[in-house]
């Protein structure tokens, strides 16, 4: 009985970590689309994976969970990096210089608000539903819908110009 429970727990862990592993490319690209440099995205995701190892109750949407956790880690790291920005300027290593601005969509997403970007990327890059996004961001699905509507309209206007 105890052994069966342990096996179930091990299987759940394996499935959960496997799902996180499978979500890695999508979430990585989502972070880069949010404005992270490749190095920042990799670091934030690595932090999120460390957090995933300590999660004992796997959530319904590993993609969304990993994205939101990595997003928070990236924001925190970005805030910390601001403290050292003068050092970067002295060394001539401004982090924005390495961003991939060649991708139009990424550049256009950069003109939206952070919340609008998060919702659009979660919706279209990760394929999450409004309900799932609402749960992850702590807002109602209706609010997610309204944000998505405004963001989509802005994005379409810019892409169709």
């Amino acid at each position: 009985m105890v052994s069966a429970l342990a096996d179930d727990a091990e299987l759940a862990d394996t499935t959960w970590l496997g799902a996180c592993e499978a979500a890695y490319p999508k979430v990585y690209r989502g972070l880069v689309a949010m404005g992270a440099t490749p190095e920042e995205a990799a670091d934030a995701l690595q932090d999120a994976f460390e957090r995933a190892l300590s999660v004992r109750a796997p959530v319904a949407s590993p993609d969304g969970w990993l994205f939101i956790v990595a997003l928070r880690r990236w924001k925190r790291a970005r805030w910390r990096a601001r403290l050292f920005r003068p050092l970067d300027v002295i060394r001539g290593q401004a982090s924005a210089a390495s961003r991939d601005d060649r991708i139009d969509l990424v550049a256009e997403l950069g003109r939206l608000t952070e919340q609008q970007r998060t919702v659009l990327i979660a919706r279209h890059a990760l394929g999450l539903s409004q309900k799932e996004i609402g749960e992850l961001l702590g807002v109602t699905p209706g609010t997610v819908g309204a944000i998505a509507y405004q963001a989509t309209r802005k994005l379409r206007e810019r892409l169709e110009r």
Binding site: R29, A42, L45, E50, D104, H124, T152
Partner: protein, 116 residues
């Protein structure tokens, strides 16, 4: 709940984001050397502050002739939370200061120092 379906945007995102190369997931986190430097500087500053406070507490206790006081009482002397009353001695301040054998008793906000 009805969700507006934007297949064209789904495709646009997939098409554009798939151009972003994904590196293999690192097994070890790449730590920034700046974080280590900042942590080392903070630790050194903390250690220096702790040592400085310790020396100041010792100096305050010695100056008031309360070398017998324990660590906590020395900090209280430094902050002025307690004051010293010398008892049973007509020795001068200098003599009291250099008197190695004395006895401390803490009563509320007063330390009684008596010569033994």
């Amino acid at each position: 709940m009805n969700e507006p379906v934007s297949r064209d945007l789904d495709l646009l995102f997939q098409e554009r984001l798939s151009r972003i190369p994904v590196p293999p997931r690192p097994t070890v986190r790449r730590r920034s050397p700046r974080r280590r430097i900042a942590a080392a500087v903070a630790a050194a500053a903390l250690a220096a502050a702790a040592m400085g406070t310790g020396f100041a507490a010792n100096a305050a206790a010695e100056a008031q002739g309360a070398t017998c006081a324990d660590l906590v009482t020395r900090f209280k002397l430094l902050t002025g939370a307690v004051h010293v009353v010398h008892e049973g001695s007509d020795a001068t301040h200098e003599e009291r200061t250099h008197e190695a054998i004395n006895h401390c008793e803490v009563h509320g906000t007063t330390i009684t120092v008596s010569q033994r």
